[in-house]
Amino acid sequence: MSNNPENHLDLATVRDRLRSTGGRKYWRSLDELAATPGFADLLHREFPRQAIGWSDDENPGEGRRNFLKLMGASLALAGLTACTRQPTEHIVPYVRQPEELIPGRPLFFASAATLGGVANGVLVESHEGRPTKIEGNPEHPATLGACDIFSQASVLQLYDPDRAQAPTLNGEISGWGSFFGSLRAMLTAQKAKNGAGLRILTETITSPTVAEQLKGIQKLYPAAKWHQWEPAGPHSARAASMQAFGQPQNTYYDFSKADVVVALDSDFLASGVASLRYARQFSARRRVSEGKTNMNRLYVAEPMPTATGSKADHRMPLRAGDVEELTWALATTVQAAAGGPKTNDNGDIYRWAEKIGADLLRSKGASVVIAGEYQSPMVHALAHAINAKLGNVGTTVFYTDPIEANPTDQLASLQDLAKDLDSGVVDVLLILSGNPVFTAPADLGMAARIQKAKTRVHLSLFRDETSQVCQWHLPEAHFLESWGDARAFDGTVSIQQPLIAPLYQGRSACEILQSLSESPEMNPYVIVKNYWSSQHAGADFDAWWRRAVHDGVIAGTALPQKTPALHGEGLTAHAQKRTLGGKLEVNFRPDPTIYDGRFANNGWLQELPKPITKMTWDNAVYMNPGDAHRLGVETGSMVELSYEGRRLKAPVRIQPGHVDGSVTLHFGYGRTHGGRSANGAGFDVYPLRTSKALWQDVGLEASKVSGSYEFADTQMEGVLDPARHIIHKGTIAEYLKDPEAVHDGAEAPAKSLTLYPGFNYQTDEEGRPKYAWGMAIDLNSCTGCTACIVACQAENNIAVVGKDQVRRGRNMQWLRVDTYYAGTAEDPNPEFYNQPIPCMQCENAPCELVCPVQATSHSAEGLNDMVYNRCVGTRYCSNNCPYKVRRFNFYLFSDYETPSLKLLHNPDVTVRSRGVMEKCTYCVQRINAAKMDAEKQDRRLQDGEIQTACQASCPTEAIIFGDINDPNSRVSKMKSQKRNYGLLEDINTRPRTTYLATLRNPNPEWES
């Protein structure tokens, strides 16, 4: 999506031409201006040093790095005399400059990031050919301009120095040539037996092109089999639609029309496909202002507190296994199903069902009942029935044909593969991305089974656990390096275009599959383009294609909506009475930040504080305070879990709000071959996860064992102290009575209360109007999903410091999301409140007064500037900052050495070195860039022209930035609301960042 589509296509073709001449050359020509030193090393380097020093401070005696630092210090001291002399630098211009490329100005291209096979449309910012930042594509239905943590962090994954860098055969460096050679040999052998010995194992595939390729391969090798395995895929949803409709269906929702939302253990606001879209729609119905006061109501039943749970008006802590009972009761109340006997001891369930049911019936056709990915097929089926009964289908709930190329039962498919492996018929096993050895159900013992295949080929970004048991390992091309396509939640297809030629001669699954076809020698650009030219009737294909690539979405590819008929009989079989029998319920969930483990080597995601828990670099055994007390354990003590004879030692973490009698485990941690960040972080939960219970089951036993464990949290104290007026909150009813009530008597001193003359932020010396930057954060919208934190980290070159440093309270994220719970830690069902805290840019900034060298001082537009190169590091400013938003480089945290990570840096932001303070700047680089463009055109900035990184990524539009001098700007309108308040306003810092009080909309009949 460059500023100019025509030019953009040129680049596409240029790229195409150049790819045919071999990627690396092209890459060089694009990067010449950047002239990143040591790029050669990057290409043939063994192992670069650790991204950052994670040494134990107590014994900082490591070799090389320490030595380098000594040099650094002595140089710095020597440089004291001639401190202004610049070292000699060089400029390496292009030989032939691509027309549309203006050195010093970024270009933006549309592409698609996939998770679990489903596409999120993204815009990738590229500086002289280096992708540096990923944002949402406003034209894409799934993202609507927002961006999730995984897509954003994937740009770090691209430059990960641990990525596999060459094809290997039994661990020895080999070449693509020799691989394709041996592959061809194998294929001729298979051709003879119709490919009876050929097996392909992929993750979930939605790509039409790849689907087409696989069809072709099926024709060539009729006896070959294609298996899919996605550890965190919607297995029960698939099963449920078979049960409820007799055929696979794709379901999605429209929350903008829903007055009542019932989430049955569903974290739809923060995880799962289209969560960005759902969050946007949901929050639109909670954006309350003096004019507009109709607010939706959210019921959430869940075992483990999630971002969605933190927004609930009524959160019901419920064991995952009991959610089915609740759903039955609900279905009975709304007469969607013939409810069976009340089999649960938990009487609350039926009381809740009654109230919710009544509420649902009041809002027929304007409600959503959404079942969680991790609930049983029955819950999903009942949810379908309830929605149908309430007439939501077609208004808030929609069905289409499946978006997956082949929506089979993946567990069955994997078991089938296991059987074939045992019978020894498998000659060639192609594992195209995915890490089955690590992620497959434990009872399948894939590590051993896979080795029964004669030839095993694994294509993946990293040489991971699966690669260890395969002879061939092939480096996979990152999605920013290769052409492709994929479908979004509603079927809309996005073209995935590369931003950079493969750094490590990687290739995409699409390319490998092509080599199985009749025309093996074809580059992916041609493959994808050919497929779509076959799809697109009409002569205008080139223009159409140009548009498709440029927009990032292919218009009209959304699958048609339909209203499938519901089979009643699927909904009579009632669950048996379910008792814990003195044991615990166990819940398996993908990790909130590293997902199923595929992002385990991603420092940004490892160090990203997980929603609610604020834990980094670890997973844990989450349990209710009561259970912990019963087991005689506390946070940090080790327990041994045993489930069906499978054992596992892990640290406990007491989680307020977690349901009792149940523990939650996040899988994805405990990698052994994941890379420097992944290895040794957390513990592996997969060994407990069997095909019998992918998501939850009763029968877990936990016993305290010796040993203790230290977690690395970014927030120690979470109990809300009402006296400090940190979170202003209330119910919609109270708000309607008196909008000021939410402030609960919090006071702000009058602006006149000062001896000093106020600074004129309205006009400059010449009396011309000025900008005054400000930010408003609507706590009623914020879900605490932490997308903003990753956005900030990527935009501002923020360093990753490692678990040990986080434990020492030295995490560097400029923006944090505080989570408080009202009540005590023992409260069985506390209310959660999220509060993003960037720099407040105080007009009376306490930090500025105390800096001895004026390294932090106020700009004429009211920014609290931080000048890294002036900072001497007294840290006084941080001491005096009541919000503690300043971050200090205690060591040299930024990586100055790993060449590939240099390419990641945003050239518009200084990379901070050791000993300097840093903090949020409202993305001043974006402000300046936009202002200069406006001034060159001799006009004023329009509202919304500048978006801070956090604002751009926010799915709920909770963060609004702009000019508070302009009464019509969105930010001014927000600040003018009665809900608006400044954090710690009573100490008269006059923050430019203000908050809008959060409201709840409880069901008035709930308590009765």
């Binding site: 610049q86 292009y94 032939r96 100005r105 400059d764 700009s859 402000i927 001034e935």
Partner: protein, 219 residues
């Protein structure tokens, strides 16, 4: 008991004591001078280049406009060092055999970039933007000097912060009408200050408070 010291010691000690004071003052002076010396700033130093490119010839003699080569000066922070292609536009016709131009032809032949040495080099933490300066009436000459009189390129000005601030604090003393942006040896038609003040309004140049805010140049 015999004298340990000769009388003259008194004089010496006096000299030493007073000398010390002046010596310290002298040291400070030396430090400040060194800081601004051309050794530290690299002013007026011709730097080693792969090709002895003469601005004097191309700008002075041939009168080629700066923007012919430095294409992005009006659109980007970076004024763009011309790609080899630009040189070859002419030098594929003229001086095609000149040995001094061999590196250029070589670069064009085997697609290997020329490796120029930076002459005007600001620290990495300074975010200078050419386009906005050009748009606001700061002539090339104002910072780069009379390149039309430089057979080999060198740095005319100190490029130190105080030097930048000097202009940011009194823009009226330095700005010129846009039509003379690339003019070398520009003479203001009338009183510079007066013209400057007129242009400040005309080009809507930011107030001093903003131009001297840290984040204007540092991020």
């Amino acid at each position: 008991m015999s004298q340990i010291f000769h009388r003259s010691t008194n004089t010496y000690s006096r000299i030493v004591i007073f000398g010390a004071v002046f010596f310290l003052a002298f040291l400070t002076w030396v430090f400040t001078v060194l800081d601004r010396s051309s050794y530290a700033t690299r002013q007026h130093q011709v730097r080693e280049q792969p090709v002895p490119f003469s601005h004097a010839h191309h700008v002075g003699a041939l009168g080629i406009d700066c923007r012919y080569c430095h294409t992005t000066v009006e659109t980007s922070s970076f004024a763009n060092i011309p790609p080899t292609k630009t040189c070859m536009n002419c030098h594929s016709q003229i001086w095609i055999t000149s040995p001094t131009l061999e590196p250029v032809r070589a670069s064009y032949r085997d697609g290997k970039s020329l490796d120029w040495t930076r002459v005007h080099d600001l620290p990495d933490y300074v975010y200078f933007n050419h386009s906005i300066h050009v748009a606001k009436g700061v002539g090339c000459e104002t910072c780069h000097g009379r390149v039309d009189k430089m057979p080999l390129m060198y740095q005319q000005n100190a490029l130190q912060m105080e030097w930048c601030l000097n202009c940011h604090r009194n823009t009226e003393k330095y700005i010129r009408p846009k039509e003379f942006i690339t003019t070398m040896g520009y003479e203001p038609a009338g009183d510079q200050e007066e013209i400057g003040r007129r242009l400040q309004k005309e080009y809507n140049i930011q107030g001093v408070r903003l131009l001297t805010s840290c984040s204007t140049c540092h991020r």
